[in-house]
């Protein structure tokens, strides 16, 4: 079987932009290899970095979910999601290394073959064994580039939230919010998703929504210092200082890696309340 993924034949050295254009095109984001080349191509290396492709996918409002083995790649394909992969078609030797991006668009189980949109060839079959070797040789990078309302075939809560969080840095708050809502539809008890949703609401100035989301996060995970800290923050901004103070004290008492931020919040609230 092979998915209906638009094909872009690559120009010299431009397999990264071509592969990303195919994956984005499938996901409904209109763009072109030429436009993407300006976002990801690194002239001095005559190629593109995988992390650059991931960042560019987010800037187009898509969620890049990294996959860790051939089983996960096949599962995504079975669910109808193409997978962007990096192979080393050559050897792990100086001058003989040939890192190359392609898009897995299907597979033939009886023939043990993966089907790739690769280089200038659409739907090129490659055996699972050959693919796994060339793929591992390049570091085993594979991502499904998904619309924010489409979860991966075997979704992992942490991986999905981490992939979606990068959307906010790219200024794609609307897509980030959709991705967090997709997470909550699947994992209604996810304190992390509520915290994330609260942060998007807060950034958009919707204080009541933010408060509600942070309260939900603290209910689901009372030990979450970020949730208490951010709740304290939104309460302060809403002018409810005594409640804000209690929440900030709770965040400081919990300690952990965000202690410095929690202390700052507490100081801010104490300063607002006055002596």
């Amino acid at each position: 079987m092979a998915l209906d993924v638009p094909f872009h034949a690559q120009e010299a050295y431009q397999c990264g932009p071509a592969a990303l254009a195919m994956a984005l095109g499938w996901s409904g984001a209109e763009t072109s290899p030429d436009e993407l080349a300006r976002e990801v191509f690194v002239p001095g290396r005559r190629g593109s970095f995988a992390v650059g492709l991931v960042a560019a996918a987010r800037s187009h409002g898509r969620v890049p979910v990294e996959l860790h083995d051939l089983g996960e790649i096949l599962a995504e394909l079975a669910a109808g999601h193409p997978v962007l992969v990096l192979q080393n078609l050559g050897l792990r030797l100086p001058f003989l290394s040939r890192p190359h991006f392609a898009v897995a668009v299907g597979y033939e189980l009886p023939a043990h073959q993966l089907v790739l949109h690769s280089g200038t060839i659409a739907r090129r079959p490659i055996t699972f064994a050959n693919f796994e070797r060339t793929w591992r040789r390049a570091g085993g990078f594979a991502v499904a580039v998904l619309p924010p309302d489409v979860l991966p075939a075997a979704p992992d809560e942490g991986r999905w939230l981490a992939a979606a969080a990068g959307l906010e840095r790219a200024g794609r708050s609307a897509e980030a919010e959709t991705a967090y809502q997709s997470a909550l539809a699947r994992w209604p008890e996810s304190a992390g998703a509520w915290l994330a949703l609260g942060n998007v609401a807060l950034a958009g100035g919707r204080l009541a929504d933010a408060e509600q989301a942070f309260v939900r996060a603290t209910e689901l995970e009372p030990g979450s210092a970020p949730a208490w800290n951010n709740l304290a923050h939104v309460l302060l901004r809403s002018g409810r200082r005594p409640e804000a103070l209690a929440a900030a004290q709770r965040a400081v008492a919990l300690g952990g890696p965000h202690l410095q931020t929690a202390r700052r919040t507490l100081e801010e609230i104490e300063a607002a309340i006055g002596p």
Binding site: G16, P43, A138, G139, R169, A170, G192, H258
Partner: protein, 137 residues
């Protein structure tokens, strides 16, 4: 092109100043734990340090991208998209990371390939071109 020590010190001072300024400005957004930071810290240990490292790494990567022929505006907007974790990874490994894009092997590649093939032929006892290669058995 790594940061020189003096430049690095300057960058650290600048980062500290920026983070401090962020802490005291009325835009109280500074005291919010972002989703990215909340998810990333379990590995980093201290969120504040991870932020400073991400900031420095971004400056480092931007400089390296410009050295690799990306124009200044492009380099700036590219690093702005990276998460702290991605920026740190890229800063540490930019020279080793594969850059997918090879179209052809090129002359050096073909010479290297021929060399490797000849070495292998020598090793398996088919040819005897290099006196310092001893055929197996």
């Amino acid at each position: 092109m790594q940061f020189s020590r003096r430049l690095r010190l300057l960058a650290i001072a600048l980062a500290a100043a920026l983070l401090w300024a962020g802490a005291v400005t009325p835009a109280a957004r500074a005291a919010v734990v972002s989703t990215e930071a909340a998810l990333a810290v379990s590995a980093a240990g201290d969120a504040h340090r991870a932020q400073v490292e991400g900031f420095l790494a971004r400056a480092d990567v931007r400089e390296r991208l410009e050295a690799l022929g990306v124009d200044a505006d492009g380099a700036q907007s590219r690093v702005a998209l990276l998460t702290d974790q991605e920026a740190s990874q890229l800063a540490a490994q930019i020279d080793e990371l594969p850059a997918g894009g090879i179209g052809w092997l090129g002359v050096v590649g073909i010479i290297a390939l021929v060399f490797v093939v000849l070495l292998a032929l020598d090793y398996f006892g088919v040819t005897d071109i290099f006196p310092w290669v001893h055929a197996r058995r």
